[in-house]
């Protein structure tokens, strides 16, 4: 039933989609283009291609990396993200299994407290949390990972608990009858079954921790910088920005995300949908 009018409709919707794609990718492309222009040619004419006067080669990148100490910010972001997410996945899956399988008033209450924490905005605990972290000396990268475990546990325990409830308890009972202790049962039987949820939890937490600005800034910001902190600090004291360095650092901040996205796109989209539906 391919009629002429439906073909026209088809082409129109393709044209609309292509125009929208340009609108979605355009801003990133414009930043990329400007990262190769001299810093005084960016603010006024961001939509022009670099030409022989405005082209500055890799100057912005070299200057920007030096100015923001980008390499150590990148290393810090990577360190915090990898370890926080690993710790969150490991410990919250264990906790979720424990509070789902051990049925007492206490574990039941815990579950609701975890769920409750999901709706509390960060600003509510921001000041007191950074003071507490200060007092018990958690104001360092390792301490920050511990805080991420605490602050991320609400959503992660919630997601894991939902899945544990659907696992038939007989499997675990059978294994423990055979003489496995709970630790062995968890790591050899339960954790492998939890893998799809573990991927969802990992993806959601990677996206959160990698991009997070305020929490790391409050806890370790005076000594260490992650990528978002390094970018925010490019803005000088009087609102002046080295636009060249800014453009180059924005590009360097986006590249790892694009690589991550394109290499595990399927998991990311599935994980985000699962997180949205259950969360």
């Amino acid at each position: 039933m391919e009629t002429k009018s439906s073909r026209i409709k088809d082409s129109i919707s393709y044209i609309v989609l292509i125009l929208l794609s340009i609108a979605f990718l355009g801003p990133i492309f414009i930043v990329l283009m400007n990262s190769f222009k001299g810093k005084f040619y960016i603010s006024d004419t961001p939509f022009l291609f670099p030409n022989s006067t405005t082209f500055s080669g890799l100057e912005n990148y070299i200057g920007g990396i030096a100015k923001t100490d980008f390499m150590s910010a990148f290393g810090m972001s990577l360190f915090i993200t990898v370890f926080s997410v690993a710790v969150i996945v490991l410990f919250t899956s264990m906790t979720a299994w424990y509070i789902t399988r051990v049925k007492t008033k206490f574990t039941n209450m815990l579950y609701y407290v975890f769920v409750f924490s999901m709706i509390v905005p960060f600003q509510m605990v921001m000041f007191t949390m950074s003071k507490v972290a200060n007092i018990i000396h958690l104001d360092n990268p390792i301490g920050l990972i511990f805080i991420y475990l605490g602050f991320g546990s609400g959503l992660s325990v919630f997601l894991f608990s939902g899945f544990v409830k659907s696992i038939p308890i007989e499997i675990e009972e059978a294994v423990m009858m055979d003489g496995c202790n709970p630790v062995q049962a968890f790591f050899s039987i339960v954790l492998p079954i939890l893998k799809p949820t573990a991927i969802t939890v990992a993806i959601l937490n990677v996206m959160w921790v990698w991009n997070d600005y305020l929490l790391p800034d409050l806890i370790i910001g005076t000594e260490f910088k992650t990528i978002p902190i390094a970018i925010q600090y490019l803005k000088g004291g009087y609102g002046s920005i080295d636009m060249g360095a800014m453009m180059a650092m924005l590009v360097l901040a986006i590249v790892p995300i694009v690589i991550f996205y394109l290499s595990c796109q399927k998991y990311i989209i599935e994980g985000v949908v699962a997180g949205a539906v259950k969360g």
Binding site: D10, S13, Y14, V16, L20, S21, F24, L25, P27, I30, I42, D44, T45, F47, F91, Y98, R101, V102, K103, L110, F114, I119, V120, P121, Q123, M124, V125, M126, F127, T128, M129, K131, V132, I136, F146, G150, F151, S153, G154, I169, E172, E173, N181, V183, F186, N211, Y213, L214, I227, P228, I231, A253, I257, Y261, Q265, I269, V272, V273, A276, V277
Partner: protein
Amino acid sequence: MEKSIKKYFALFALPTLLAFSVAFLIPFILGIVLSFTEFTTVTDAKWVGLSNYIKAFSNQEFINALWFTVKFTVLSVITINVFAFLLATMLTRGKKGTNIFRTIFFMPNLIGGIVLGYIWQLILNGILYYFDVTLTFDAKYGFWGLIILMNWQLIGYMMIVYIAGIQNIPKDIIEAAKIDGAPRFQILRNVTIPLVMPAITICLFLTLSNSFKLFDQNLALTAGAPSKQTTMLALDIYNSFYSKTGWEGVGQAKAVVFFVLVALIALVQLVITRRKEIEN
């Protein structure tokens, strides 16, 4: 079995519980208590009753931020969901190349708020340059800038949720409506929309809470300029804590109010979802 697991409390539950207490539980309770006191370092708190709350509500900056946040939230929730839904219907007709478009539209969602803010600062200032103004010249530019930014970031995310919802509709229902000769718009209104209602509820509340709690994008795009007119609630609370001396207690009171508002939104969502589940 339960008994043997119970013995392993220290291994399975304690690490998470300790972290959770330090990062959330203790600061949360402390936060509520401190909102009734005057303090600078948490340890020097002095009871002042409701005076922080009175100060918060008589603080023009707070009221402005609240009003700005509400306006911004309403507008961005509507625009994001309309565009995302339209895109989702375009991308679920089984045409070639829809996967590529999906990939492209979703991508901005992965970029962090600070980076997004500076990307759009460049673009919007570049456009406004032709009109001889900048983003921080007038609050309305910052307002619309934030709306555009938020749309760019969240349309793809919501589109993905809508696509999942639309794909869950059994194909034969739509086919049956088509065979009965129902016009496309009627199919959309009477078949598609009621059946994707769960997805709509999810998206409305995701956009609602994301917009209402916005901080990073606000800080990077305008930082509240000009003269704090584009400051949203989260940024106003931050400013009370960190750029006004002696305002820590008031900041904490504002934070409690902020929390109550967010909790109300979540409560409404819970009630609506529960009611939907009972209906079905």
